[in-house]
């Protein structure tokens, strides 16, 4: 096991993030986002060494409270905590709390009473992590709250783009698909705008929420119109489970206008980056050959997600240990 030393990640002079919770990217400044990404880059470097384990969170209990099914985010957080030598509690429950049963706040209080000092929360209700943050002492890390925010997903998207392109200046990122129900879209918009990218949201008019332009994004309903000016395409998953009623006539029609296939790839820039937060619906948001092709960075995103989540856990832990004020 590696011990912390002078060259330990996170001891640089760069900007710092001292929040008590990570609830969303709306609340963070560009400098704070950059601090998290820099920390993640350090961790990614360390992960290439043979011994991947750091003892930075030794003795700390990280609880993963997943009130909504998730495989990849939960696994990623769990592994991130273990890489930092934290003890982990995994709690999974589906559905919302019942009116006369234990509320999700009660559940979190119970887990906190077991000594958890960091609580990772995934919940189907927007704002659930915010409600928790006001009621427990532990640091709350939002792992996706309904259709609101998914900060670590956006951070890993930002990390992946920055890793390949170096900077966000002059970059155009197009978020494609179900913007209305997408927490990934909201977090990406905040992060990308703060770091200086141009953002286009592209999807059927029924899946573009009202007044989204006021967040500083451009709106398009035709992917073919904006592909040419796009450096990075982020293909959001159609949230079949969050939609009530029909927002578009058929999957075939959706794919016809918004699906990423080899034809569209040809019309795109030669160096276009294809991102997808997953889990992807193959053949809907993108075809097999695009998902597995040279432009796709989908698996890099997964790898980077681990480093980003380690950074978030570590920095949150640090700010709790040093009494940060966020």
């Amino acid at each position: 096991m590696t011990t912390p030393s002078d060259d330990q990640a996170g001891t640089g002079d760069g900007p710092v993030w001292t929040g008590k919770h990570l609830l969303g990217l709306e609340d963070l400044s560009a400098a704070e986002i950059t601090a998290i990404l820099d920390q993640a880059a350090e961790f990614k470097k360390r992960s290439l060494e043979p011994n991947k384990k750091l003892d930075l969170l030794n003795g700390t209990v990280v609880a993963n409270l997943f009130f909504e099914p998730s495989t990849r985010t939960r696994t990623s957080f769990s592994l991130a905590a273990k890489r930092l030598s934290a003890d982990t509690i995994d709690f999974t429950a589906s559905g919302s709390s019942l009116s006369k049963g234990e509320t999700f706040v009660d559940t979190a209080r119970n887990i906190e009473a077991m000594g958890a000092s960091l609580v990772v929360v995934r919940h189907r209700s927007p704002g659930a992590p915010h409600q928790l943050a006001g009621r427990i002492k532990a640091g709350v890390l939002n792992a996706g709250d309904g259709t609101h925010e998914h900060p670590t997903q956006a951070l890993l998207d930002l990390f992946t783009i920055r890793e390949k392109r170096g900077s966000f200046e002059g970059l155009t990122v197009t978020l494609v698909g179900d913007i209305l129900h997408s927490r990934v879209a909201r977090s990406n918009i905040w992060g990308l705008k703060k770091l200086g990218a141009r953002v286009i949201v592209c999807g059927p008019s029924t899946l573009i929420p009202p007044r989204i332009e006021e967040f500083g994004v451009e709106v398009s309903h035709r992917l073919d119109d904006v592909l040419e000016e796009t450096d990075c395409v982020n293909l959001l998953r159609i949230q079949f489970e969050r939609q009530r009623g029909a927002f578009f006539p058929s999957i075939r029609e959706y794919t016809h206008f918004y699906g990423m296939n080899s034809e569209r790839l040809k019309a795109a820039r030669s160096d276009v980056m294809i991102l997808a937060p997953g889990p992807i619906n193959r053949g809907v948001e993108l075809t097999q050959d695009v998902a597995d092709g040279p432009h796709s960075v989908i698996l890099d995103q997964v790898t980077n997600g681990l480093a980003v989540r380690m950074a978030c856990l570590y920095l949150l832990h640090q700010s709790h240990a040093t009494g940060g004020d966020g």
Partner: protein, 425 residues
């Protein structure tokens, strides 16, 4: 004979256009015009205070029968008088629903047995509030229902609403409707707009209300029936109602004070106490509501008292119930929204809380004219205080106003000539 004299207050009685310093005499539960020989009158000094008719609440949820762990007629009327309310019309959102004569009579009896103020039940428009078949409206009225309402459930079927308006007209009874298209607000938590997009919360578009306001106005026009639109919340609603009243359609409307002091921006904290139905709207809607109150398009202010237990307000915002307990914060919020902002005179504000509601409920109340029931409120208009939900008399404390510094407080309340509430007690 028992008498009371409230001496030296600024007596405001909008029903008769009175606004002057003077005395108010009460004997045997009625307002009289002066001392009667042989009556011992208990004196109350109201120098520097406002003396006005007791407020009339047009729509409170008292939860009894059925949900008496949440609120009862005892706790609800105690909360009412603490807010200066001396008459409460209660929505039939009970279990069982007040859709039959026996249920109306139970509430009236319970109010006599245990209530601290007058209670006027509203009967359901449709059986079990399902919006399908008309309830036994005639017998509800005979049993004592003063108006009809399906509570916070819209009568979605236009044909049923039409028949309801036509049938209720025969009994001289007004239909109190919650105008909101249920399909357009399905899954909704808050006003649809910038903030719902920001927060990822399900939106309730203003148009969901306006569509039903326009429909209901058209049906009132068609049938000649009497319509009351409960707690409207949008600019276009106010405008549709204003035009309809100009044409002579019998349509009235109310607003809540909380819709005048908070906007949808408040939801940014995901505070479930700010989850109300209709939802808090944006600033331009709030402005239009105030304008509607000022020009008389809206004749009634209602607290829309709706108790929700603490454990249910601790749920996730998309599953937590809608509602605010409003009775005990009614007056200071009105003062903040309308008097402090210099949008309304005291007499106009008091009319929206007294004779306005009395008129639409068809009650011979809401005035201090000689011979009226001696339901009287003494207000200290200047005292500053902090709202403390722990002191509420309601069984529930669901309010976003805890800790607010406010001005103006109900000091003493008389119901039928008897002092039932005093701030000093």
């Amino acid at each position: 004979m028992n008498g009371c004299l409230i001496r030296g207050g600024r007596v405001i009685d909008p029903a008769v256009g009175r606004d002057a310093v003077g005395d108010v005499w009460m004997i045997d539960g009625r307002i009289v015009d002066g001392k009667v020989d042989g009556v011992q009158a208990k004196e109350f000094d109201a120098t520097g205070k406002i003396v006005c008719p007791g407020f009339i609440e047009t729509q409170a949820t008292l939860q009894e029968p059925g949900w008496d762990d949440v609120e009862t007629i005892v706790s609800g009327t105690a909360a009412a008088v603490a807010g200066g309310v001396t008459s409460v019309a209660c929505l039939p959102e009970t279990e069982p629903v007040v859709d039959n004569r026996a249920a109306v009579e139970f509430i009236l009896q319970q109010a006599v047995r245990s209530g601290t103020c007058h209670v006027f039940p509203l009967g359901a428009v449709t059986k079990n509030r399902l919006g399908e078949e008309l309830a036994e409206i005639g017998q509800l009225v005979e049993g004592g229902a003063v108006a009809l309402s399906d509570g916070k459930r819209a009568v979605a079927n236009a044909e049923v609403m039409r028949r309801g308006l036509e049938y209720a007209k025969m009994f001289g009874c007004r239909i109190f409707h919650h105008p909101q298209d249920p399909e357009l607000v399905a899954g909704g938590v808050m006003h649809e707009g910038l903030y719902s997009t920001l927060l990822g919360l399900g939106g309730m578009p203003a148009e969901a209300e306006e569509i039903l306001v326009a429909r209901d106005v058209a049906l009132a026009e068609l049938t000649g029936g009497s319509l009351h639109l409960m707690t409207v919340s949008t600019a276009q609603s106010v405008e549709i109602i204003r035009r309809a009243r100009e044409r002579g359609v019998d349509v009235t409307a109310s607003v809540t004070p909380h819709h005048l002091v908070l906007t949808d921006a408040e939801l940014q904290t995901f505070d479930t106490q700010c989850k109300v139905d209709p939802p808090f709207r944006s600033r331009e809607h709030v402005e239009a509501l105030v304008a509607g109150l000022v020009d008389g398009t809206i004749e009634v202010i209602s607290s829309d008292h709706r108790p929700v237990p603490a454990e249910e307000k601790e749920l996730e915002i998309d599953v937590a119930p809608f509602g605010i307990v409003g009775l005990e914060t009614l007056l200071p919020l009105c003062i903040r929204a309308l008097i402090d902002s210099e949008r309304m005179e005291w007499s106009d504000l008091i009319s929206r809380l007294t004779c306005g509601p009395a008129k639409i409920l068809g009650l011979n109340k809401g005035s201090l004219a000689v011979g009226n029931d001696a339901d009287v409120v003494v207000i200290d208009p200047d005292v500053e205080w902090e709202i403390n939900p722990a002191e509420f008399r309601s069984r529930c404390a669901n309010t976003p106003f805890g800790g607010w510094q406010v001005r103006g407080r109900v000091e003493t309340v008389f119901v039928a000539g008897s002092p039932v509430y005093s701030i000093d007690r």
